[in-house]
């Protein structure tokens, strides 16, 4: 089974470019012009967003349980 994760953003690194939202297969990330948001209930823990970020602003934490 895939390990359940939480995606976290380093706000100081993020450019709000929207790329991670674009590659996310399940609309679990929303990027507005002033903030980056993550929706845990939609995330399928695929980690696609982490590699796609051009600056490495994303990371993950394992979720318990």
């Amino acid at each position: 089974m895939v390990e359940k994760i939480k995606i976290i953003v380093n706000e100081d690194k993020c450019y709000l470019c929207g790329g991670c939202a674009g590659v996310c297969p399940s609309l679990a990330i929303k990027v507005s012009s002033s903030k980056w948001e993550f929706f845990q209930d939609k995330c399928i823990s695929c980690k696609i967003c982490i590699n796609a970020c051009p600056v490495g602003a994303l990371d993950f934490e394992p979720l318990e349980g």
Binding site: C17, G19, G22, V23, S32, V55
Partner: protein
């Protein structure tokens, strides 16, 4: 209180595709609203700002020096071991734009043609009634707005949230995107009449490094790599600057983005929702240029939107999908096939190909005429020595 608005057409996203559609449809007398989440349309830019000269005449855009930073006469391509291939035209072949001004002016042309334009307006969802999409929910300067429209245009770039909320599957696997990172910086020593491109599997996996000159000593210096690469685009660009002893302490801007380069949306219109530009992945997969493709698609889409409104028949929107696929989809699928073959080239292959090709061959590549160049390559002894190279090239004929 929620403000309520009503238009014939609501266009989400004022990049390139959105304003072209908004302008063309408003010109025909229909009510159009163009919205963008950015407080200043065009900023921050997410682009190297290079575009072919032909777009101005073709899409009725004024050749306005306010958004043209520099005229370009060709390109120089560098192989991993330093072989160079140059195309230099006598006439201007392209320009480097100032996208912050360009995008805003495109929205201005739409406004002048009769469209309403609202910046700082983020669309969050679609509104449905009996299963049918009748509008969008947005926030304008933080206040809720409901915008009703007969036709909704998703021109919201690579995020393509609106298309997806409308039930159009724009999903593509990570390998079909490029991650891009760019500095606008002071840089010396590159002919400012040409754009410069470096290829190599260690330089830019799957992509290339670019220098697009903006002044004699200022340029967009960027990189695109495969999105599923474990290392970041920033890592590769910084490495390239260091290895080439290019000082990187005069950075005027940092631009970041993801580019869809691996295939195109099959269904471009569903019921009353139309998808256009990066949202439909309408990008040239070879070089990642999406502005001209967004203009092309926007032009076809607006033609069918106008026809659908005139005849009060939304079924006509499907003709946008058909026409785009017949004209541009077919052409771009072939480019994609070639890009996939280029992806399989080793650094040694790249060296050989760039070494043996002439400026005339490069011109043919720039025009999209790949077949003749493949034939030229297939005659060269250095290519004929490798069965793998021959089979790779033959696949493309």
């Amino acid at each position: 209180m929620t403000e309520i608005m009503k238009y014939d057409v609501v266009v989400v996203g004022a990049g390139i595709a959105g304003p072209i559609v908004a302008r063309n449809v408003a010109r025909e007398g229909y009510s159009v609203l163009l919205v963008d989440k950015k407080p200043a349309i065009g900023a921050p830019k997410q682009c190297a700002e290079g575009i072919n000269i032909s777009i101005f005449e073709r899409y009725g855009i004024p050749y306005d020096k306010r958004f043209i930073n520099r005229e370009i006469y060709g390109a120089r391509i560098y192989s991993p071991s330093g072989y160079e291939l140059e195309i230099r035209y006598k006439k201007v072949s392209g320009v480097i734009l100032e996208r912050k001004v360009f995008d805003k002016m495109l929205a201005f042309y739409a406004a002048r043609s009769g469209a309403d334009v609202l910046s700082r307006t983020e669309v969050e969802d679609v509104i449905r009634e009996n299963g049918k999409i009748i509008g969008v929910k947005a926030k304008h300067e933080g206040e809720p707005v409901e915008i009703y429209g007969d036709i909704i245009v998703a021109a919201d770039g690579v995020e393509s949230t609106i298309a997806r909320k409308a039930g159009i599957n724009t999903y593509a696997p990570p390998h079909e995107f490029d991650s891009a990172y760019e500095y606008e910086m002071l840089i010396d020593g590159f002919d400012p009449e040409l754009i410069h491109l470096w290829f190599g599997n260690d330089v830019a996996p799957r992509g290339y490094v670019w220098v697009f000159p903006k002044d004699e000593d200022r340029a967009n210096v960027g990189i695109g790599i495969n999105s599923d690469n474990p290392k970041t685009a920033k890592y590769y660009l910084d490495k390239w600057l260091k290895e080439n002893n290019i000082p990187s302490k005069k950075l005027l801007e940092i631009n970041v983005g993801v580019v869809p380069v691996g295939g195109f949306l099959k269904e471009l219109a569903k019921e009353n929702v139309v998808v256009v530009g990066d949202a439909a992945r309408q990008v040239n997969p070879m070089h990642g240029g999406g502005m001209a493709e967004a203009m092309k698609a926007g032009t076809i889409a607006s033609k069918w939107i106008v026809k659908a409104l005139e005849e009060e028949n939304l079924e006509l929107l499907k003709n946008y999908t058909t026409e785009w696929w017949e004209k541009d989809g077919k052409r771009l699928e072939r480019v994609l096939k070639i890009r996939k073959a280029v992806e399989r080239l080793t650094d040694e292959d790249l060296d050989v190909f760039i070494e043996v090709l002439s400026g005339t061959d490069a011109e043919k590549i720039a025009e999209g005429n790949y077949t003749e160049v493949i034939k030229v390559l297939l005659k060269h002894p250095k290519v004929l020595m490798s069965a793998r190279r021959i089979s790779l090239l033959k696949e493309l004929l």
